[in-house]
């Protein structure tokens, strides 16, 4: 039987970049998985992903998230946005936290080529052996029936994605 968890594309940054984009995503899979390891140049301990799907910046993005610091938990949301606030304080390590630490994250994007509206999930953490760390999860809703053909990720707070950050896009088939 064919392997159904297939690497479509990857990008490990050799120098800082404002964004990473996976384009021309084939519609031959059922679901997508995007795994991230990221740190940004933002002068702060944390950052998050701004995610744009299919180059669409209409206000059709929303999220509900939950995150914990080791001592407290909170939940928040944004809606009618022009991009996803994905893991806005737990998706990416900022550049004033422990050196050489990168966040870990995973997007799951089911039925990305369907004509249904899209519900995605994200889970991420920026453990740094410091007190200001976060782990969290988010529900991401894209109020569009269009197929997802590209995924663009950048720093939510305007930094660059740092050298060494890596991104792996997989396709999963259900048949």
């Amino acid at each position: 039987m064919a392997n159904t968890y297939v690497l479509i594309a990857s990008n490990t940054l050799s120098s800082s970049a404002a964004s990473v984009t996976f384009s021309s995503i084939p519609n031959t899979y059922t679901d997508l998985v995007l795994r991230t390891s990221a740190r940004s140049t933002r002068s702060g301990i944390d950052d998050g992903f701004a995610v744009v799907l299919s180059s669409n910046t209409n206000t059709i993005y929303s999220h509900t998230s939950i995150n914990g610091t080791g001592t407290a938990v909170q939940s928040d949301y944004n809606y009618n946005m022009s991009n996803f606030y994905a893991g806005h304080i737990f998706g990416i390590n900022g550049n004033t936290t422990t050196s050489s630490t990168f966040s870990s994250g995973e997007f799951y994007i089911p039925m990305y080529a369907s004509s249904n509206k899209k519900q995605l999930s994200f889970v991420g953490a920026n453990e740094t052996n410091a007190t200001a760390v976060q782990i969290g999860a988010a529900a991401l809703f894209w109020n569009s029936t269009s197929a997802i053909t590209s995924i663009s990720l950048s720093s939510l707070f305007g930094g660059d994605l740092m050298s060494g950050s890596s991104f792996f896009l997989y396709g999963i088939k259900n048949s």
Binding site: N3, Y77, A137
Partner: protein, 168 residues
């Protein structure tokens, strides 16, 4: 490289239904994963899983969850229950598809069955996100999984896929 993430079965509902069942699950994998995407026929229903044909009389299930609704976070648990809820605090939607993944670990091993559940249910202005760990206190291999709705139906078009994952 051997295939280690294989589709076992997929169900796409042609009409609303109160449950989806995967049966005759082969014992040839290490773990199972279910991906379910769909709306409901009514908002506010509870969705849950059961294994191996157990019923409401069972007390073999327990679970612990953490949930967020955009303004507050909560955690809770249930013991000696007859099911594992997929959406403990979350509402379901009649228009927006929810997404859940269920990982069932070591489903044929001589141990009790743990699972890890993700629930994503943002609705642009409201919604919830949950993570739940569930336990089925049985060492019997899991051969069937029921995905059920309490008080509502999975809407037409709801799709559930069962994957098998091999450790080697």
């Amino acid at each position: 490289m051997p295939a280690t993430f294989e589709p076992i079965a997929t169900t796409t509902l042609g009409s609303a239904a109160s449950s989806i069942t995967f049966s005759s699950i082969p014992a040839t994998y290490t773990d199972l994963r279910i991906v379910l995407v769909g709306a409901n026929s009514a908002s506010g229903s509870n969705c849950y899983i059961r294994y191996n044909g157990t019923t409401g009389a069972s007390t073999l299930y327990s679970y612990t969850h953490i949930s967020g609704n955009g303004s507050a976070a909560s955690s809770g648990r249930a013991t000696d229950d007859n099911k594992i809820l997929l959406n403990v605090t979350s509402t379901t939607s009649t228009t927006v598809p929810m997404m859940t993944t269920i990982d069932v670990f070591s489903y044929t091993a001589a141990t009790n069955r743990t699972c890890l559940i993700t629930w994503s249910g943002d609705e642009n202005g409201s919604g919830t996100v949950e993570r739940t760990v569930g336990l089925y206190r049985s060492t019997t291999a899991v051969t069937s999984i029921l995905l059920a709705n309490s008080g509502a139906n999975w809407a037409s078009g709801t799709t559930a896929t069962l994957y098998g994952i091999k450790a080697a």
